[in-house]
Symmetry: C2
């Protein structure tokens, strides 16, 4: 199932970090938000409750794996999780490490900008890929 007008059916949507037949993990190419990742379903499905229970669990297991890796790598003040899809109604999760000195904190990243972005060192994609693969392997039987 795909939709030819849907951006997430047509494009990867970022730097590919991991994928299987069900979903992919990408890193968002953002200067302001290092570590910002998305977990994107491969099928064009709109809402979590359009998935069956096993599919919801499979998707969230990957969201949690990404959250775990991002917490370890970046020690953020907070993790923000969101599945919105108002513009692109194709199921995808935002996993955003947030920091007290980031441009919007404590606002959501879609809210008012409060300060300029500070440069923050980003982990190499190879490191992110390796950590995510290891994290998923360690939870694959759960």
């Amino acid at each position: 199932m795909s939709d030819i007008s849907c951006e997430l059916c047509k494009t990867l949507g970022g730097v590919l970090l991991w994928e299987d037949d069900f979903l992919r993990i990408i890193r968002v190419e953002s200067q302001e938000y290092v570590g910002f990742c998305r977990v994107i379903l491969k099928q064009h499905v709109v809402e979590m409750t359009d998935l069956n229970l096993a599919e919801r669990a499979r998707l969230m297991k990957v969201v949690y794996a990404v959250e775990t890796v991002l917490r370890e790598l970046y020690q953020p003040t907070k993790i923000n999780l969101a599945s919105l899809g108002n513009i692109v109604p194709h199921l995808h999760w935002h996993i955003i490490p947030r920091f007290q000195d980031d441009p919007h904190f404590p606002n959501p990243i879609w809210g008012e900008v409060l300060r300029p972005a500070k440069p923050r060192p980003a982990m190499p994609d190879a490191e992110l890929k390796q950590r995510i693969a290891l994290q998923l392997a360690s939870t694959s039987s759960l």
Copy 2:
């Protein structure tokens, strides 16, 4: 575990619709967003990955139940799910029915306002409570 300075440890945070020993479901008292609910953990826990796997699943099962009920009752254009907690770092999920003519659509509700709010009929709390209880009962063994 509770934090005496935390708003969600001290107050319900809205109109109580359902609760057990682990979490509560509240309706947000919003004129602009009818059906806007939150699922709030009772313990003062910060991130999803601070919970064990069974607790994560238990929490998300309730989020999905609320999503199901809100979709049935309001037929929204989109459901928005988010766990942010930058201001109140106590695990809670926003479940927000979104409509093409709501004040922010397609922006997140934390983004720029694009139009005035239109009155939208809200279901009585008694109806919401009953539907949520039934939905949770029907998925309790899953």
